[in-house]
Amino acid sequence: MDISELLRLNLLSPMVLAFFLGALAVWLKSDLTFPEGLYATLSLYLLFAIGFKGGVELSHTSVQAIALPALATLLLGLLTPVVAYFTARRYLRLDEANAAALAAHYGSVSAVTFLAALSFVQASGHRAEGFMPTLVALLEVPGVILGILLARRASRGGRLGEAIREVLTGKSVFLMVGGLWVGVLSGEEGMKKVEAFFVAPFQGALTLFLLELGMVAARRLADLRRLGVRLVLFGMAVPLLHGSVGLVLAKWAGLSLGGAVVLATMAASASYIAAPAAVRLALPQANPSLYLAAALGVTFPFNLLLGIPLYYATALRLWG
């Protein structure tokens, strides 16, 4: 299958289409709204299911197999927030708090982008390592914490410990890591029991979720116009940077081509579930419009549409 065919497949998957349908709803001023609780229910389901599948895979992965990839992921978790922070300081000329807020977002990972990468890789006939969801859980946390640390001078003292505690016990991380443990402990036996709920309907649930996410993202576009073209460029350049670093580290860690594309995408993605909540509490002086518009309004669709195929094309060269 050639790349243009893959691109078409990527663009025309129900998930991506649902995202744009959601945006269209806002644009047409449709009165479509999601009932209170449905968005939260879907998030809860998706996060737990990702963790669970990762855990079951992990239950039959040897320590050797995962050691280097895990290390590479941790390195990404340390490198990417720093890269994002200094880019934001220099290029966007932001103050410390706002730069740190962006760093926290770009240093952690978007679960939905991760899933899109996984589907893309499968559709292209490759296969990512089974333990990739484990790496998502690993990458979710350090970025946020490092971001907050970077802003320490900016933040009004004190609450750092509390903020870290809040990230670690925050529902997103808790559900994903919790699901992981349930998966590790219950293994294939457990999987058989709950497969029809947590695995088979997963992509359909994701489609509904993206419908809502498209609406949320579209509402951010007004912010984006106000914040300017530099932020849009930032939201596309940083993923390219992080994606490249991700590919290099994936190569070093000995991942397969499929795994490398997924890891690169993870690095390139910006969190919009765990990070915003943590940052809002720890860095209230940072402007939420800024980081939400960048992460959700620019980087998310950018990765979905162009990023993933690009990381794939690059990987084809490196692994070829």
Binding site: A40, E212, V216, D223, P276, A277, L281, S289, L292
Partner: protein, 100 residues
């Protein structure tokens, strides 16, 4: 009928503050609270993601002094950073002595 004249303090704030605000009002002396989910707009537009819920509408029935303490804390620690609105009314409460 034993009606006691007390203050009803209503606070509308972004949902992410739920835990902190509850601790805050308790610390200032509130004996209880009532909370409903709400949405809204003000001078600051939308703030965090829906995943965190939207706004909360927090009501506490308290004596005059506690009411004042609560409002002062809000003004100092929350108004500068977060989307919050707060107002007070007079209410007559059944068995109101329980709440002061």
């Amino acid at each position: 009928m034993e009606l006691v004249r007390l203050k009803l303090v209503t606070i509308v704030a972004e949902a992410i503050l739920e835990k902190r605000l509850l601790e805050e009002v308790r610390r200032q002396g509130a004996k209880g609270y009532t909370l409903t989910d709400a949405r809204g707009e003000g001078s600051r537009g939308l703030r965090t993601m829906d995943w965190e819920g939207k706004n909360i509408r927090l009501e506490v029935i308290v004596g005059e002094e506690v009411a004042e303490r609560i409002l002062r804390t809000l003004q100092e620690n929350y108004f500068p950073y977060y989307a919050v609105i707060a107002f007070v009314e007079n209410v007559e409460v059944v068995r109101g002595y329980k709440y002061v």
